[in-house]
């Protein structure tokens, strides 16, 4: 893919929405790739023992999946120069799996620097799971 041209981007442009499935196998794969082996993301008995309703996704998985949607929109993952979020609610992943829905809106375009700000909203089961999730992509 080629990077999206800066001239084609305007404030108010919409990113997504993209629905991303997440299963227990996704979390095992994420744990192995990230080296985050916390059992709350693997073991439902353990998760319940610490007061969670079920296994929950790594917050960083949710952030990563949201980043993939922004990177696809930018057309080049190396264009994502800043990315930050708060983790406000867990994504509960029952045995049958779950989904997150990722969407974004362009809130600022700096023609001089090529920096494009995207506010990202990620929901699961109808609830926002990330807070103040903002990416900056640099386009030409």
């Amino acid at each position: 893919m080629a990077a999206r041209p800066l001239a084609s981007v305007s404030v108010g442009d919409v990113v997504g929405p993209v629905t991303v499935p997440v299963g227990r196998d996704t979390l095992v794969a994420y744990a192995e790739a990230s080296l985050d082996g916390n059992p709350i993301h693997q073991d439902e008995d353990f998760a319940r023992s610490v007061g969670l309703p079920d296994v929950i996704a790594h917050g960083m998985w949710t952030m990563g999946a949201s980043g993939s949607v922004v990177a696809d929109w930018a057309g080049d993952p190396g264009r994502v120069v800043e990315f930050g979020t708060r983790f406000t609610k867990p994504v509960v992943v029952p045995v049958g799996g779950a989904e997150v829905v990722v969407e974004g809106v362009v809130t600022a375009v700096d023609e001089g620097t090529g920096r494009v700000t995207v506010d990202v909203t990620t929901t699961s089961a109808g609830q926002k799971v990330l807070g103040r999730c903002v990416a900056v992509v640099r386009l030409d």
Partner: protein, 149 residues
Amino acid sequence: MPVNPDLVGRTYPQSGPYPVDAATVAAFAAAVGATDPVHTDAEAARAAGYADVVAPPTLAVRYAQASEAAYVQDPEAGIDFSRVVHGEERFVHHRPMVAGDEVVGTVTVDAVRQAGGHSMVTTRTELATAGGEALSTVTSLLVVRGGED
């Protein structure tokens, strides 16, 4: 035990190097649903101007958390990791990370504050190549839940 506020401002010795390999980039990309071929196909990555396959924007957390361990596991820090919840994460990328990079990380304790019976710990990890080229600044907020015991 509360988190030790006296460590604010402390910078821990550099950790690593952690080699970024193509298999890790591909596995991480698959896990977060990143399907761009620049994550898995070195030819596609080179065609896009990269030296090798490109890390997804959040792969830096793997190396940042490895570096943060120097602080989080420091007995002086007073952090009970079983009570830690991830509150916030932020990346500023100075250049894209690619396979072949040898990553070193340096963690600094930026803030420790108390709120609602919990400790809020902010760390800042500077990731660079072993050769000294800046890669990413990774800021993380950990919430260490206060004990009822």
